[in-house]
Symmetry: C2
Subunit: 461 residues, 2 copies
């Protein structure tokens, strides 16, 4: 197991930092190379999103290394979605059962916490301001630019983990190898981060324990709470078109637009124009690739091999789950890194593809359907089904967010359930209709059908 001890992790973001803890626990010596300065010293932000939704898969990975409780102190539970209509009406929809929540955490706060937890470990060393220039896959040499010293350095670790994000330079080296499958797809939407500050004297200006959504058809805004009383809002908006980043050019354009579509939010956003025109516009990319490894030398992990759009709140959670899965595989690992890497990428690829597709699908749901009364009725009926048949029916959202079922299983099962819901909703106009005998009978038949289908699918695998 200790055949190769000299491990370099490229990227000291959330996934790289957490991975270092897991590897050090298994007795490896780990060096992390990060192109940015140490965020605990310098507050350079670099345009990354400010807060994130942590859910069960993420918590599981934190628990696995014993740091769950520490993070929970600074996480704000969000028990449901709070929808804001154009005339300011609020509608609330719980995410799961009583007590189930996703948690708003600060990206920087969590990253710094992981750094602080790992850095005292003598087997873990952070190297900041070190930017990957080139990875030589034959020799495993990595050329680095040291931005502090303005020098070029070369390292030759035994093993390289590419945790360097959606625009991974480690993946760039793999992309030059034969028959590498690669896909980058952008949505025609960008995002802009805006702020609702804390109330005068402290406290939150909107319901604290909810994820707020202003769904508006082909665009939307969301807001997540921060521990300081503020909310970080994100506007997801087309790049081009009648209402788009391209069409809003002046403070007046902006204010008129916001007053029309987000009237209840405007009074809460004193710095709207400054935020809008000074903050960068982020792009929304899905990255898929395969393979994720090169021989026994390199493994990509997290966004570097499966970047997803943020609409299921699963990007970080999926990256953390990579670590859980890899760590579990290492329990029976006999020192053959190539076999480990190949087994990992084979196991994990279908799940990474599934969450990528689910995230794009959820964008449609969030911006568009959550404002639709039929959709809300359907959600309520589905909740009733999952309450009545807790062993036979988990909602898709629940499987993704509140379970550790494989994402690919969740996607498949969700598609089967979707067809059942279509059939059942033909007989339902109000929540009371759920108890009608014909609905109950149809449901029972469909549940039997579903079990058969699942049994058949699992045989196929």
């Amino acid at each position: 197991m200790t055949e190769k001890k000299n491990i370099a992790i490229m990227g000291a973001g959330l996934v790289g930092s957490l991975l270092s803890l897991y590897l050090a626990k298994r007795g490896f010596k780990v060096d992390l190379y990060e192109r940015r300065p140490d965020m605990r010293v310098s507050t350079l932000d670099g345009g990354r999103s400010i807060n994130l939704a942590l859910s069960d898969r993420g918590w599981r990975a934190l628990r696995g290394i014993g740091i769950e409780e520490e993070v929970r102190q600074v996480a704000i539970p969000m028990y449901g979605r709070m929808m804001h209509s154009e005339n300011g009406e609020l509608t609330y929809q719980p995410y799961g059962k009583e007590g189930q929540a996703i948690y708003s955490v600060s990206r920087a706060g969590l990253n710094m916490a992981l750094m602080n937890l790992s850095e005292p470990n003598p087997d873990i060393n952070y190297h900041f301001n070190m930017q990957v220039q080139d990875v030589n896959l034959r020799t495993n040499q990595v050329a680095l630019r040291n931005h502090s010293a303005n020098t070029d350095e070369t390292i030759a670790p035994d093993l390289i983990f590419g945790a360097d994000g959606a625009f991974s330079l480690v993946r760039g080296a793999l992309q030059k190898t034969e028959r590498f499958n690669y896909q980058q797809s952008y949505l025609e939407y960008g995002y802009k981060e805006l702020t609702i500050p804390a109330a005068d004297g402290g406290g939150w200006l909107l319901e604290k324990n909810a994820l707020h959504i202003w769904p508006r058809g082909n665009f939307m805004m969301i807001a997540l709470p921060n521990t300081d009383g503020s909310f970080t809002c994100t506007l997801f908006f087309p790049y081009e078109g009648e209402r788009s980043f391209a069409s809003i050019k002046t403070d007046t354009d902006l204010l008129n637009f916001f007053l029309e579509v987000f009237p209840d939010a405007v009074p809460l956003m004193p710095d709207l124009a400054q935020d809008y025109f000074c903050n960068p516009t982020g792009s929304l990319v899905t990255i898929k690739c395969f393979p994720w490894s090169y021989e026994d030398k390199v493994l990509l992990i997290g966004d570097a091999c499966h970047a997803v759009v943020p609409f299921y709140g699963q990007g970080m959670n999926a990256g953390f789950e990579d670590i859980t899965v890899l760590d579990k595989m290492m329990e029976t690992f006999d020192g053959d890194w190539e076999t480990l890497f190949k087994a990992f990428e084979r196991k994990r690829k279908p799940d990474a593809d599934a969450i990528a597709d689910l995230a794009v699908m959820n964008f449609i749901e969030m911006r568009d359907k959550v404002a639709d009364p039929n959709f809300l009725l359907r959600k309520k009926i589905e909740t009733r089904i999952s309450e009545q048949y807790p062993d036979k029916w988990l909602t898709l959202y629940g499987m993704v967010t509140f379970s550790d079922l494989p994402y690919s299983y969740a996607l498949e099962t969700g598609q089967i359930q979707d067809k059942i819901m279509q059939k059942i909703m033909k007989h339902i106009n109000t929540i009371e209709d759920y108890n009608k005998p014909e609905v109950q009978q149809l449901l029972q038949e469909q549940l039997v059908h579903k079990e058969k289908l699942k049994a058949y699918q699992s045989q196929e695998v």
Copy 2:
């Protein structure tokens, strides 16, 4: 229209050479830069496939510039597929109606013919041994390596066409721009070109006017006739697995394998071992990307923006059709290159995606289903339908190969027809069953349904 006259085409392959003729006809001055030597002088082959199937879309583009007849002299019509079973039985399946054929042409022969036709034009200049190093999209400067003179040169054309194939370096520059969508997907199959030489004293050892297929489930061999009496065979074979490129290591492995699976071909292939072990193994890639243009400066065309696998015989035909479509758009073009490029890529992208997907789907059909009696019966029934209802039913293969209907229309219509065929084949066990009243009635109902569906789809667009 003559606002920009100084056009550079990167790549003097089939698409680049044909494009030069079309552009020169419209009064532009065209320089072609090709990294290989002049194939009319040097016979360096570079691992490209030896012959290609030219079909209606390709002929149309050649006709548009008045060179159809010249090419027809050296093209061999193939009127159908000739399937070779493991025990040497032959089954023949026509591709279309009486007289319809796809044509085997030599890639090099066609390319040289296009060069010979274009080079005398004083507005067309070829520059060989000139390899693109870098394209600066801001300044439109192209850095080139002159392999003849061993020097580096820079050109600054007004307009750049990237006709430099699946591994396009012009596309490489676009890939570095913001929000560029890109996908490269490899099949887990490679290909190897082999030879059946001409008969002693001349002539063809297999039926000349057919495309020969040895379908074997998860692999296959095909053969296309050449004008010199030989056939070029292509083995499509998994890279890994029990029967694969990886598993065949020696002459004995090879011979035993061929004797088992292609027994009727072995006696015709005296140089089998030499061909197999000396010829390179080609990979099979699909490339999709978007956009295809950059401002009013650069347009990708052909494989550079939509490389497909060869199983529908449409790679070159699709590239040639790009030129037909672009040329038609230039008829109403008022000198605004950016608008032209944007209109072209928007029109052409869905068709490029469709033929890419169809080509992968046809691989399954060719290697696997064409040996299945049910599949052959179904093909015969479908032929009967298209004979009975020539205005209402064109086979998918016919739409792709023998029409200029958009590929995307062919794909959609093919999917509708596929569902109809599934319903109809439930009532059919022999070709005679086609005349049964219930089959005829079902068919008529389905055709009405199909018309409605198509009308609905065209409204959606």
